[in-house]
Amino acid sequence: MGAVFTEFPWGVILILLPVTGGMLCFLWPQIAKITGLFIVFAVALLVVGLAWQIFDNGVYRHAVGGWGAPLGVDLYADGLSLLMLAITALVGIGISVYSATYFKHEQAVLFWPLWLFLLAALNALFLSADIFNIYVTFELMGLAAVALVALAGSREALGAAMRYLLAALLGSLAYLLGVALLYHGFGTVDIALLAERAEPSPIIWAALGLMGAGLLLKTALFPLHFWLPPAHASAPTPVSALLSALVVKASFYILLRLWLEIFGPLVGGAGVEQLLGLLGAAAILWGSVQALRQTRLKLLIAYSTVAQVGYLFLAFPLVAATGVSAWSAVTYLVLSHALAKAAMFMAAGNLLCFGGHDRIADLDRVVQRLPLTAGAFALAGVSIMGLPPSGGFIGKWLLLEAALMQGRWDLVVVMILGGLLAAGYIFKVLGYAFTQADVSHESKAVPASMEWAALLLAVAAILLGFLAVPVLSLVSIGDPFGIGEVRP
């Protein structure tokens, strides 16, 4: 029995199953919702299976086609990939439950196949060990995400989807040119082999520049964030949640991987980390101030994503001296932001569905009228602000600790300012949610499943605050952060 579990190719099925599901939804739209929900729950079980396997056997490697790198494409999963897959499955369930009632027939028929293909792309991306294969997963992810944004159908959404598509394609092409240089420089596209073969050279710098720029554009790090707020704000709510929680993290994950495995050991200490940290700090301040200025709830949340992405990059300059705690902070921030931001967008979607608008100033006593949704927003806000006890608190605390250890007072100040600004924009929303609006509006009932989906994800973001020890030991499987090697 145990052997069945440890030998079963969980990782491969994690990719093939949602692809199959997407095709089934495409063929038989009548059963798209049932198929979609079934596949998403099955994917979560597969992730559990993969986790079991990784606990028993250590890192997962699957040589597709039986060739192995460099000729073939390898799949690879260590603790970090596993956590990304797990958070994708978890947030995916929340989003699917929410979507099951959110989308009415016409849109539902379009949503489910696109979402399942997007899920396949995310799983494939987190499992890939091959930089060209990652390019293909990026395109799969990008086209699915753009089509999902455009589902909203409004003029704003179409414009935002177009801008998003152009940015995604530009990012992919820059990335692909970097892949071309690495391949011709070192004769392989396998990440592990590249890590072995690569040596400091102009090729490495050019590839870092191209791939880095492409990935930063996809991750929407300031000042390359221009496409994110309109896309994340105008998309249908479950799609906003998906994009902010998972899709942005996918390109960040690849950036982190490439930095840890290939570029960091070669060019670490040459100022790239400082640049990333600087942009991260700028993103925190700019995104938070913009969020504070917004009058529409979904735009506020989208700008908050711009700011929270900034935190992820603060870790880069801190790693040199503190190593593990900075990367643990990043892991925690990625996980908790995924949960909290998905919950927050869903709560906003509920308010939008309830009042027919998302003008912050006209939120009319929603705390009394939609207590579950207001609770979800507040709990998610606790994690976004980084207050204890929450996943966001652990992440930001670890990051703060790393900054203090290294005496980076500038970053400490930015983090504290970012926290205060986050408190500002979240309490601004909550303030209006408690009080009566000047004009009261017609309101519509919000389906219970949409309220509970938001609340449960927000609760998960809080609970993450109590799971630091198991989560951090999980992420260390396979030593993805190669602590010894990262230090210059």
């Binding site: 086209l143 455009a150 003029r155 152009l166 692909l176 040119l177 071309a180 011709h184």
Partner: protein, 102 residues
């Protein structure tokens, strides 16, 4: 300069031309053309440098990658063009509202 490097330089030139056009032109059809030219440049770098095998057999891996890339490019182009038409039908413009510099 040998053939592979000559064409690889042409490839980087195409990438640059496409990037420049993507930035300065407002019309979406032109932006889509620009992205296609950039893609052609990347593909050319991939294939040109694969010709450095001397007398050994050709390196087919980049060729296969570029065929994959061409199919991905036509997929993206088709989606982009439909999006452009839809946007044009809704807003009357085949250009993005310039809300970038707010």
């Amino acid at each position: 300069m040998s053939t592979p490097f000559l064409y690889a330089l042409v490839g980087t030139g195409l990438f640059a031309l496409g990037l420049f056009a993507l930035i300065i032109h407002a019309h979406l059809l032109r932006k889509i053309l620009a992205l296609n030219v950039m893609g052609s440049g990347v593909f050319m770098v991939l294939v040109a440098l694969a010709k450095r095998t001397g007398d050994a057999p050709l390196d087919a891996v980049p060729h296969a990658m570029v065929i994959t890339g061409i199919v991905v490019a036509v997929s993206a182009t088709a989606l982009a063009l439909t999006l452009m038409l839809k946007l044009n039908a809704k807003s009357g413009h085949a250009e993005l509202p310039d809300d970038r510099r707010e």
